[in-house]
């Protein structure tokens, strides 16, 4: 850690940074208001699948970059799970050196355009910004700037491919092409390994593709970042289910020396209340995967998803927001969030809640479903909802939702999406009984190296955490890559 501090310090002392800092008084910088992200009009965007946020212009980005004080102690970095050199990439934007800025991002982050869009910056880097900590003002828009630099590079046509070390011929396998897998692949290929990523679905990107809708993260953005990895030499095998198509032992025989398991948490959870098996009650996984990956929004397609007029989405996280906003885009007249706590307690990003509200999503907070009913064909047509109140705080400090006796009422629905969390994918643990798992089915790993109970098998992301953000998964991937690199070095010392 001391080493990293020294590097940051010496980079801050470089002449260009020093001159840039002195070019403007701190007071002038702090008097600039935080930039507002241009967005599609809510009533237009809730009928299309185009991206909601339109991105900053060069001028807006440079102005926002001026707000950054280039602090001696950049606390923002401590909030970033992958440790991006935040002041440096922002100061490159202020300087107008946008491609250099993107290069800085890629030093530690294989997917900057993705993170700039989906990271919960308000609880990570931005929460640790000097503006928030000391000035009690809006933080520097680090996420918007990250997205700007990555988009600029992509649109410039001169995408930098990080330097890759001389190939060492050691084969490593990455299971799952979600954010943690892509982060491992990015680091390992940089260090000269022969990396193959095995993906169960027909598309690469994992949750970035099947879980996050186009209006929040266009698939094209993910593809650009994946192409970048391909150019660095990462190989991808789609429609390949490790544990079924081939087991880890089979891959070992193929010469793979180490494995990273990033197979995610794709097993949906339900509330197990009466009537939950009726038709048109979906898990958020199914609903979003069908729309995002299987073109189910298109009624002409082979397997369209039912476009209900009265859609209830159960839950208060980002997946719930993605599902309810998707339902609006599929033509719902009434799209409801039914969540058992108050709006302040929703785990969804503040921006996603705000966007959903602007798009006419109805928020039914302090309500929880009790039972579903169906028509004669077995299609859900009604639900009983019970009102809740907040009781005593639980050990997390949040007040527990308590049902209000006798407060049940009916709501007409023709589609329900249940978004109350997921379980780890059981395929790999089931095919490897020697792999230690927790009571929750997550793989047990060493926190530093991310190595599992089985030598040479590393894991990270949702399969270890149960549920995580994209950037946390990427942080796991980077730590696992380091652990795997050390492990392989120890096994086969350099000649």
């Amino acid at each position: 850690m001391e080493n990293i501090s020294e590097i940051l310090k010496s980079e801050r002392q470089q002449t260009w940074r020093d001159e840039l800092r002195k070019s403007m008084k701190a007071k002038e910088r702090t008097s600039i208001p935080r930039v507002k992200m241009p967005e599609q009009d809510p009533h237009v965007r809730n009928k299309n699948h185009e991206e909601v946020n339109m991105g900053l212009t060069d001028k807006m980005a440079m102005k926002e970059a001026q707000r950054c004080l280039d602090c001696v102690d950049p606390t923002c970095i401590t909030g970033c799970p992958v440790g991006i050199n935040i002041p440096k990439f922002i100061k490159r934007i202020e300087q107008g050196e946008f491609l250099e800025s993107a290069k800085t991002l890629k030093e530690t982050n294989a997917l900057p355009a993705v993170c700039g869009r989906v990271c919960p910056q308000e609880v990570q880097c931005e929460a640790n910004c000097f503006y928030v900590q000391k000035l009690k003002k809006d933080p520097v828009a680090i996420g918007f700037l990250e997205r700007f630099a990555a988009d600029y590079e992509r649109n410039s046509g001169s995408i930098s491919v990080p330097r890759v070390e001389h190939k060492n011929g050691i084969k490593v396998a990455v299971i799952g092409s979600g954010p943690s897998g892509l982060a491992v692949a990015g680091d390992m290929v940089k260090w000269g390994y022969d990396v193959t990523v095995f993906e169960a679905l027909h598309e690469i990107g994992g949750v970035l593709k099947y879980g996050i809708p186009e209006f929040r993260l266009p698939n094209e953005i993910v593809d650009v970042e994946i192409n970048n990895l391909k150019q660095m030499g990462v190989k991808f095998e789609t429609n390949f289910i490790v544990g079924t198509t081939a087991k880890v032992d089979d891959l070992k025989k193929e010469g793979f020396k180490a494995f990273f398991v990033g197979s995610g948490a794709g097993l949906p959870k339900f509330m197990n209340i009466p009537g939950e098996n009726y038709r048109r009650i979906f898990s958020s996984n199914e609903y979003l995967t069908r729309v995002n990956l299987m073109n189910a929004a298109n009624p002409e397609y082979d397997t369209p998803v039912f476009s209900g007029k009265n859609v209830a989405v159960i839950g208060g996280g980002n997946t719930a927001m993605d599902s309810v906003r998707t339902s609006k885009r599929l033509g719902a007249a009434r799209s409801m969030i039914i969540y058992r706590r108050s709006i302040e307690e929703m785990p969804a990003r503040v921006e996603e809640v705000k966007h959903a509200q602007e798009e006419d999503v109805e928020f039914m907070n302090l309500n929880s479903p009790v039972e579903y009913f169906s028509d004669e064909k077995g299609n859900v047509n009604k639900m009983i909802v019970q009102k809740m109140e907040l009781g005593e705080p639980d050990s997390s400090g949040r007040r527990r939702p308590v049902p209000l006796e006798g407060s049940e009422y009916e709501v007409e629905v023709d589609t329900v999406v249940v978004a109350i969390g997921v379980s780890p994918n059981p395929l790999i643990p089931a095919s490897m009984p020697e792999l230690e798992v927790t009571d929750w089915g997550t793989i047990k790993v060493d926190k530093e190296t991310m190595q599992s109970s089985v030598e040479g098998i590393f894991a990270g992301g949702d399969i270890v955490r149960g549920g995580a953000t994209v950037i946390l998964a990427m942080g796991d991937g980077r730590r696992a890559a380091k652990g795997m690199h050390e492990y392989l070095k120890a096994k086969a010392p350099a000649k």
């Binding site: 509330m271 996280g317 969390g421």
Partner: protein, 332 residues
């Protein structure tokens, strides 16, 4: 050789000895051994409402302290209480299903409730899983000085009503003896139509370690002396109510069992003595009952059940005597 069969909650039992809800009845393997040892029925280890709440709290603590499990922004963590309940219920349902597949004796599921919260709605899953009956273990210590006696009583009736509306299998209530007017409470409970009443649940009792100034648990196991109070209430109520009575607490020998049957119980629930003496204790107790019946010339339990209940005994006032007066005054 006497006939030991009895009817309890409408179920036919090969004998009146039921192994009560405990760690002895928490796995299929254990229950198979109890059946082999001769138990007439088993009450599965209770699904504790409080325990689920505690597990939720401890999981939340773990999740917040160990950031490797469920980040704070995860939907799964947000609904962790539901998921824990689901996991616990699934395991319990699996226990019922597996037990029913492998044993012939009646299997009674058990829920320990402290409120009429919505989760007892899951009782119908126990019925679907094949439980022969359901025992509601309602254990509320009247320690809250703001709660009226009537409010505590009301919870019992609410729970029974809710569960009754969900399931058709026989229902029993394992109740506490801490009521202002116990006889009236038992009568009112019976009037709900509940199939059986188990007298009584035994509360955890705190004790002190005086050397280390610490709290500790006292008397994990019951003693035979505790069965006297149970016998009194079984004797007073057995002829006044329609619900079947099962005696529980302090029944450690054939003699203890016979006394409860004479007071009017249809069955007894046994736990501590099996923990102390092993599963063979079941055969010893049944053998003792058999021998006594042979000696007394009884062929069936019904021939003597309730013979010494308050209604039938020659000295009914003994049941209501609360002072020892002459007994002690005669001791010089």
């Amino acid at each position: 050789m006497a006939e030991l069969t009895t009817k309890y909650l409408g179920l036919s039992l090969s004998n009146p000895l039921i192994v009560g809800s405990s760690g002895l009845t928490d796995s299929v393997e254990n229950i198979l051994e109890l059946e082999k040892a001769g138990a007439g029925a088993v009450v599965l280890k209770s699904l504790f409402e409080e325990q689920i709440m505690l597990e939720v709290d401890s999981s939340l603590k773990e999740a917040y302290q160990n950031d490797m499990i469920y980040s704070a922004k995860s939907e799964t963590l947000d609904y962790i209480d539901l998921h824990i309940r689901e996991r616990t219920l699934s395991a319990y349902i699996e226990l019922i299903k597996e037990t029913k597949k492998k044993v012939m004796i009646p299997v009674i599921a058990s829920i320990n409730c402290v409120s009429s919260a919505e989760w007892i709605n899951f009782a119908n899953y126990f019925e679907e899983a094949g439980a022969d009956a359901l025992e509601l273990n309602i254990a509320i210590l009247p320690s809250d000085d703001k709660t009226k006696a009537s409010e505590i009583e009301k919870v019992h009736f609410e729970i029974i009503e809710k569960v009754r509306s969900k399931v058709k299998i026989p229902l029993s209530i394992k109740m506490s003896s801490s009521f202002t007017n116990l006889a009236q409470m038992i009568k009112r409970l019976s009037e709900t139509g509940i199939d059986g009443i188990v007298m009584f649940n035994r509360f955890y009792t705190p004790d002190f370690d005086i050397n280390n100034f610490a709290e500790k648990s006292s008397n994990t196991f019951s003693t035979a002396a505790e069965s006297g109070n149970i016998r009194r209430w079984v004797g007073i109520m057995s002829s006044k109510i329609d619900s079947d009575l099962a005696a529980s607490t302090g029944i450690h020998s054939a003699e203890d069992m016979i006394k409860q049957l004479l007071a009017g119980a249809r069955a007894v629930q046994v736990v501590s003595t099996i923990y102390r003496n092993g599963k063979d204790q079941i055969q010893k107790m049944l053998g003792g009952l058999n021998q006594w019946m042979d000696e007394k010339g009884y062929n069936t339990i019904e021939q003597f059940r309730g013979k010494l209940s308050q209604e039938k005994t020659s000295n009914p006032s003994a049941y209501e005597r609360i002072q020892f007066m002459r007994y002690f005054s005669e001791i010089k």
